[in-house]
Chain length 217, copies 2
């Protein structure tokens, strides 16, 4: 049985920062560094050492005065906190330009995300493999998803079909959706949705840039 | 000269939603639909019609009772608001797995983002083309960036080198950075930074999923 502290509520900003610390720690480990202080972590990530110490208190790891934290130990503790030590089986739905880019991006494997199958409705790509992942017809989703325990659905279909596809994902038993489609999904309360919104983010950037150019022109 | 209402302050949540409306409108246009009501927009995006009308008031477009908004007109007005009617020249820095995926993703062109050059320090890829975009050595950035007016830098280097590369981008004259690296960048006040944080977002998703599984097991 896992220790109960793993199931305490960790504030969302802390979870986000723990992910950043993990990135840095994996890099330090690659460089052969096995001890790190909260000050070093804070400096490298442009944040505050007190914040780093507070965040790390949510893991089971305790730092030692002077030497700091044990790098492999802290990596393991953060990975456990984020459930990145288990493999998270992921299904990608929507193998268009964005879906292909995501299947081809190796970085997600570091976070324990492992694509098992991909789904689409385009007969031209069904049955083909994209970066080693087979593309199935959307109708096959329930049978293929049901076989696995931890199931994350990565949604990369156009906005127009996103809600309809979401309903099918929920029906198939997916309980966590990583949504890359530009709309708010309606889901039952026990389904987790986390959004990545490229166009919204770019809109903020380009709007601010034109205001800046207007003020300085 | 452009109308001054384009340079009023638009709240960031409105900017984000305008980007979503634009997606939907472009789809409606493709389908040959030339009039749309705020209720239709709201229903399709799972949001509220009053909110849609309030947001659209920030553009120069006025809807007509019964028939609603003119689709091409509203597309043009939102694109102007977001500065997506002009081409935004973009430079990508860091041609690793993520950088390649972004260069290969066609979706950003819809938002007026046009990649001009890419930069890296890896001799194996310098001089090569990725999806038609030439990869240059990072040291060539100042000369190549200076030639263009509107400059967005897309940052896809590892966290460890992100701050150093950011300093070089700022020095080269980039005033807007779309940051995909997992850390907070330090920049001068007149540089805009907008973050896309995959690992933070996935961390929230996987953490919530394990809590959900714990509660329901």
């Amino acid at each position: 049985m896992k220790a109960s502290h793993h199931f305490q509520i960790i504030p969302e900003p802390t979870i986000r920062r723990l992910a950043d610390y993990l990135h840095l720690l994996l890099h330090l480990q690659q460089e052969g560094i096995d001890k790190v202080s909260s000050t070093t972590i804070a400096n490298d990530l442009n944040t505050d050492p007190t914040q780093v110490r507070k965040d790390i208190q949510y893991t089971s790891i305790v730092g030692k005065p002077k030497t700091g934290f044990d790098v492999p130990g802290l990596i393991g503790a953060i990975e456990e906190c984020l459930s990145w030590n288990d493999t998270n089986a992921a299904f990608l739905v929507g193998v268009g330009s964005l879906g292909k880019a995501i299947l081809g991006y190796e970085g997600f494997q570091k976070y324990g995300l492992q694509f098992i199958d991909a789904f689409d409705v385009d007969p031209d790509i069904i049955g083909k493999k994209m970066y080693g992942i087979e593309v199935h017809h959307l109708d096959e989703m329930p049978g293929l998803v049901n076989k696995l325990k931890r199931k994350i659905g990565v949604l990369t279909v156009p906005a127009e079909s996103a809600q309809e596809v979401t309903d099918k994902m929920v029906e198939a038993g997916i309980r966590a959706i990583w949504n890359f489609a530009p709309l708010q999904l309606k889901t039952p309360e026990d389904v987790i949705v986390e959004n990545i919104q490229f166009s919204q983010s770019l809109a903020v950037l380009t709007r601010k840039l034109s205001l800046l150019e207007f003020r300085t022109s």
